[in-house]
Symmetry: C2
Subunit: 208 residues, 2 copies
DNA sequence: ATTATAAGTGAGTAATCACTCATAATATCA
DNA sequence: TGATATTATGAGTGATTACTCACTTATAAT
């Protein structure tokens, strides 16, 4: 019988599964890393936050850096897949609205993770590559056909694709990562509102 | 007579001025910090890069953190002032073009500094404040009257100021900090071209 | 029950780090 | 030319850190 199955009246400690421990450590590591940066965090502190002994970390991850990679690597793609069921009946404009909202929500939901990713991407090549493949690259390749469709239909102007996307991504990223911190925007604004404003600006511009 | 003044034929070491030494250290520190981050850099390494003894660093800066602050603090405002001579004859649109170009050049010229600043702003309040006051805040306050003038003249739509600026700043920052790295944009494109494209997009939008 | 395996622990370790300080080198002043 | 002040030096220091390992505890297999 599996020992974790049913409560019996013996008063004995029940151990979490190895997988659960791993998750505890990952969760704690994300928290600490996001707070203090990779080099500013200690394995002792992470262990404390995860409520495990320091040695336990190294049973699950052979080095601190491997822990960082594990924190960043897998989660990224989770939220991206949804969009891949192509709503092929959408107009390009409708697609952009959906995409924008999805990304803004994704960023808000994983703010610590993404912030950490951008910060550490500066110093670790692996992270940089992961960031490009995971967030920026995926976004670009999903958008591209819709962009081109929009141009064909005459809905969009035939602007150069990559520079245009760079600006678009910049708007989104900056909103999620720095917006509320630096510009003191009212946080009670919903993502919905913010997304609508950004889309309006992106599609129609500031000029009358 | 000042000892550093004229070359004489005695073969003796000439000491740099204290100020010059300070600059050497600051320059080296910027390089190393930008490369590896604050916590990833060691004072020994900075000393080596500056070609001074490690102790010398601490004669000029009492702590490593003070060195970081000194690296970031003063330079920021240098490039900003130019714009303050108000070209009051400009149209709002012309102002935005000038502003955009100025900021993009400023970012390109100080890429390491600004990249470092954004990275460390996550972890040090002083840096965060300095970033807001120095780059983002200044930009916002310079733009505002021109934005309002543009709305009054009927050149611009009456969009909410801060969210609009957030997107604008996002486009600029992302271009400077991540654009070439992540999106593989052709680096032979001049800033001029990039700025013109960004302004076009910002003013008129993607939609036809 | 007994044994075998997997998982957890935390004191210990070698390396590294920011910072100090006694000494030396250079510059300034009398 | 000395006397004094300023700046530079780098070996030394205590604190911190990532990682190890001998050992304990829990679970699975026989």
């Amino acid at each position: 019988m599996k020992s974790n199955e049913v409560s019996n009246n013996r008063e004995i400690p029940r151990r979490k599964t190895a997988e659960q421990r791993r998750q505890d450590i990952l969760e704690a590591a994300l928290k600490i890393f996001a707070e203090k940066g990779y080099n500013g965090s200690t394995t002792a502190e992470i262990a404390r936050a995860a409520e495990v002994a320091e040695g336990t970390i190294f049973r699950h991850f052979s080095t601190k850096k491997e822990l960082l990679i594990a924190v960043l690597e897998p989660k990224i793609l989770e939220g991206l897949i949804k969009l891949d069921k192509e709503y092929s009946e959408d107009t390009p404009t409708e697609f952009f609205r959906r995409f924008l909202k999805n990304r803004m929500e994704l960023i808000k939901d994983n703010e610590a993770l993404i912030r950490l990713m951008f910060a550490e991407a500066q110093y670790h090549i692996e992270v940089r590559e992961s960031l490009f493949k995971g967030i920026l690259g995926q976004g670009i390749s999903i958008i591209r056909p819709w962009f081109e469709k929009g141009v064909e239909l005459g809905d969009f102007r035939a602007l150069p694709f990559l520079p245009t996307m760079q600006s678009f991504m910049g708007m989104i990223m900056f909103y999620g990562l720095f917006g509320n911190v630096f510009l003191g925007l009212s946080p009670e604004k919903t993502i919905e509102e913010a997304a609508d404003h950004m889309l309006d600006l992106f599609l129609h511009g500031l000029a009358r």
